[in-house]
Symmetry: C2
Subunit: 612 residues, 2 copies
Amino acid sequence: MPKVKVIHSGLEREVMVPAGGSILDAAVAAGVPVEGTCGGKGTCGKCRVRLISGRAVDPTPAETRQIPPEKLSAGWVLACQRPVADGLAIRVETAVESGPGKESLEGVAAVVAAEPVVEKHFLRLAAPTVDDQQPDLERLLSGLPLDGVLAGPGVLANLPRTLRESGFEVTAVLAGRRLLAVEPGDTTGRSFGLALDLGTTTLAGYLVDLGTGKTLAASSLSNPQRSLGADVISRINHVSENPGGLRQLQEMVLEALNRLIEDLLSGGAVAAEEVYEAVVVGNTTMAHLFLGIDPSYLAPAPFIPAFRRPLEVTAGELGLAMHPGARVLMLPNIAGYVGSDTVGVMTATGLDRNQGWRLAVDIGTNGEVVLAGGGRILTCSTAAGPAFEGAHIRHGMRAARGAIESVKMDQEVTLGTIGGAAPAGICGSGLIDAVAGMLRAGVINPSGRLADPATGAAHLPPGLRDRLRKTEGGSEFILASGSQSAAGEDIAITQKDLRELQLAKGAILAGIRILLGEAGITAGEISEVYLAGAFGNFISRASAVAIGLLPDIPLERIIPVGNAAGDGARLALISRTERERALSLADRAEHVELSARRDFQDLFVQALYFPG
Amino acid sequence: MPKVKVIHSGLEREVMVPAGGSILDAAVAAGVPVEGTCGGKGTCGKCRVRLISGRAVDPTPAETRQIPPEKLSAGWVLACQRPVADGLAIRVETAVESGPGKESLEGVAAVVAAEPVVEKHFLRLAAPTVDDQQPDLERLLSGLPLDGVLAGPGVLANLPRTLRESGFEVTAVLAGRRLLAVEPGDTTGRSFGLALDLGTTTLAGYLVDLGTGKTLAASSLSNPQRSLGADVISRINHVSENPGGLRQLQEMVLEALNRLIEDLLSGGAVAAEEVYEAVVVGNTTMAHLFLGIDPSYLAPAPFIPAFRRPLEVTAGELGLAMHPGARVLMLPNIAGYVGSDTVGVMTATGLDRNQGWRLAVDIGTNGEVVLAGGGRILTCSTAAGPAFEGAHIRHGMRAARGAIESVKMDQEVTLGTIGGAAPAGICGSGLIDAVAGMLRAGVINPSGRLADPATGAAHLPPGLRDRLRKTEGGSEFILASGSQSAAGEDIAITQKDLRELQLAKGAILAGIRILLGEAGITAGEISEVYLAGAFGNFISRASAVAIGLLPDIPLERIIPVGNAAGDGARLALISRTERERALSLADRAEHVELSARRDFQDLFVQALYFPG
């Protein structure tokens, strides 16, 4: 097998890759996940790496399209387009960020009483004698205040020694009627759990004190599966097309979650062995990949998941860095593209608890919409695509350092970037702001067409007009010039970017309109709109309404709720009552399959237009 | 680490053994389990191997005691007494037999109606459409005739493909309310299970058709743990004294069981993936070792097991070669030295079903005694030791080819050997016959003392008298001379052997008498005595009563029931009713701990005497 050297951040690693594999495969094998949003098709241009040796090859057509000439001649290639060869060395400048991003991890701060499934009981047992030969397990169980407790061999393996070394004073850890662990002495004050949110783009985790319900630590990590495709469809295709693909994607997410858990526990106050339960949410595809269940039939119509119900597995079976007997509960999904993350949003926002109609929109890689009221809960999923997370956008990026996150446009353009750094690209909230500004200023018309700098830009102030540039694919609007930007290249919004945004926002708006129609109400009757998702806290509500991502609703009714999905997982972890509610919400949801609706295409085409 | 070459049956293997390890460790590491019944103490003399190189060392005192001089000078050593050294090569002439022995695998042929826990349901499901998006699992479950079925991620992993490749015609395999597997097409006619009996000496297995209840194959194998000690105490000590000892013993038994299963399936008509359940019995120590549970506190008083209740685990978790989701049920034990094998005996003999008092005696490495009647079930365990299985007896061996299995003694001695081969040693049934004969002829007196050939043998016929020989430890009685025997050495019964036998039979008889006293009945009131265990079918009932292994009961009331323990496991596998009965018998049993009884020592000393 060819041996390839991968260099990144001062580290060198040599990996063997099967002949026929790509440089992208080599980077993945080296544990350096390269960005890649098109799933290896050569169309996103994000997997650029630099050849350090073996560069004497002509650029491929995809490379010529995606990489500026001066970088091509400096040895840059698209990792997904280049087969490995023995002795090849590559340098990865930008790997998928593995540190926490800017996305808010805090959702709506619902406060519920701690009422966890995991309970601890301290027991002082009598030592056995020849007249009292009760076995260790039965002795322990007889000391518990409940009957019918189950125990497996795992928890028994060291029980005899634990009992004797602690003088028969131990703490039994129960999850419901299952004995999870027996610990020496009185440890009733220490009991911890994890809430995990498996996003297509970002994995988020919360370490929770099950005694108090308090979140002790929160952290997030890029989903390393991104190097095999930004959207779930690319990953499903990867599974369908590669015999070991499912196992590979499962291992990627488990390995990343173990790093996330390590980070959450890094304070050292809590040991992995003290974490007894995890509640997990994610979109339906991520749930399949996480549990190692074939997602292949989610991609083609009629989009059928393998399961809907909640599933439970032990941390030991999965290989998660918790107590090996810890229960890992995946909350139920609702449909192929409405996952347990949406159930989390429903739970966290208390959609079912209030009077009147409420709308929740979770804008992630897909756009899930929930409308609740009148005793009904309607859901749909819109194929928004990952435009709001920076994918399929020429200079798109996720909300990390250097991302343009806000744009003011009047006579000139004023940019706000994350961390105040030189602009490196544009993230979802920046894109929405920019487009709202361009629309207001007349840089684009309601059909989404950029003004022609030669013939149609006379009405624009010079500070905007000068940013318009004619290209092969139409016009583009320069947000930041090469002299300003981090990479020395212009950061522009292209005509194609606008079309991507229109498709994304049109899909969501059409989905909302279908649900409104199903409920028989108008947008004005909605009393609250919850904006969930990675960037819900950061987008300008005014811009969202201005571009028609949301229907025309008074801005004060729009409430950003941050990572409500993760928040819902946290509630279900802390409280049995909330867990039951989450399961019941999932059961009650009526899913509306948009692809089965004849009226969807018409509504979708209408919704592509920006408000006039 | 020293490298040692191990040669056995034409195979050579080189193994690395930590410095300080013994040649016995090297043989175990090489997968050639050497006989060893004393647990490495150098007292049984059974782990003889031959040094091929590096022999220039003096014999140890244990070797001088155990090995004849001509063998010593030919390089024979005791494997447990010799530290490894680099470059050492050894030849193992006799490893623990890995083929089936003579022990009967057939117990009482109880016929019960097949009513297995594992059930199959053939389903013809509608294919999903965009108007019927029910997920695969929920679609499957809705086709089943029962509610509340549980499914884990394992069974879902390939469900989507299985459903589609079979045109949605599948067979669901259920164990109770747990979905074990989904198979393409109609496989309702094929469903198999295993009954396993984990003996200290022998592992027995039965492959059963769960549809008909018929046993398709039966096989047995030496327990390879024997190389670490013939009795359970040696193995418990091995666990207590070695950090990795528990795992090592567990792996030994699992690896052997997988060979046993391979043998049971070797006809090829049944695949490992079609075996959905196993019911396992064994003594309490074996149950701990099999499940990887620390048995350390079984050895010292007050002899406390880690558990009593039935335990269930999946084949996948254990690594048994069955369907990975198959349930492996270990039947409950009763006490530290009355295991689920005794529960199996109780189930198979239907002890509780008949009128009158019934006694069951399972003579294995330990002697378990059950007395049932008048609505009570009394059990006790007697530390009989493995004398009846050939251990601790100078020329003892298990019931394999060449073992002296029957002895007639009048003017002369007539031997019957297994397979009609040249005598290689003496097994349990042969020993009992021989001693009964010696007692009748006056070679020994009721106190168990061998006649002195010089002063006390005048009353004996010459054909017996000439077999008596004076030795350092007293007299010995030669059964077969070196010219007759397989190894060219005399096969004799020594004074020490007689003492071992007295201790063994005395313990069992005293146990029986304690239970009779507890029940308030005499031996004459027992209507049936069931003789279970490896050699129950082969011993002479007359000899057993003659030496006082059993109380004086009319011979026609003594019924050999063969491997009733395994038979009980088989019944619990085939029939839910029998399984419930087994669990209830275990719950009802009243265990009498002999070590807690003040009257035991007196009864035991009385029982050491042979009937006068």
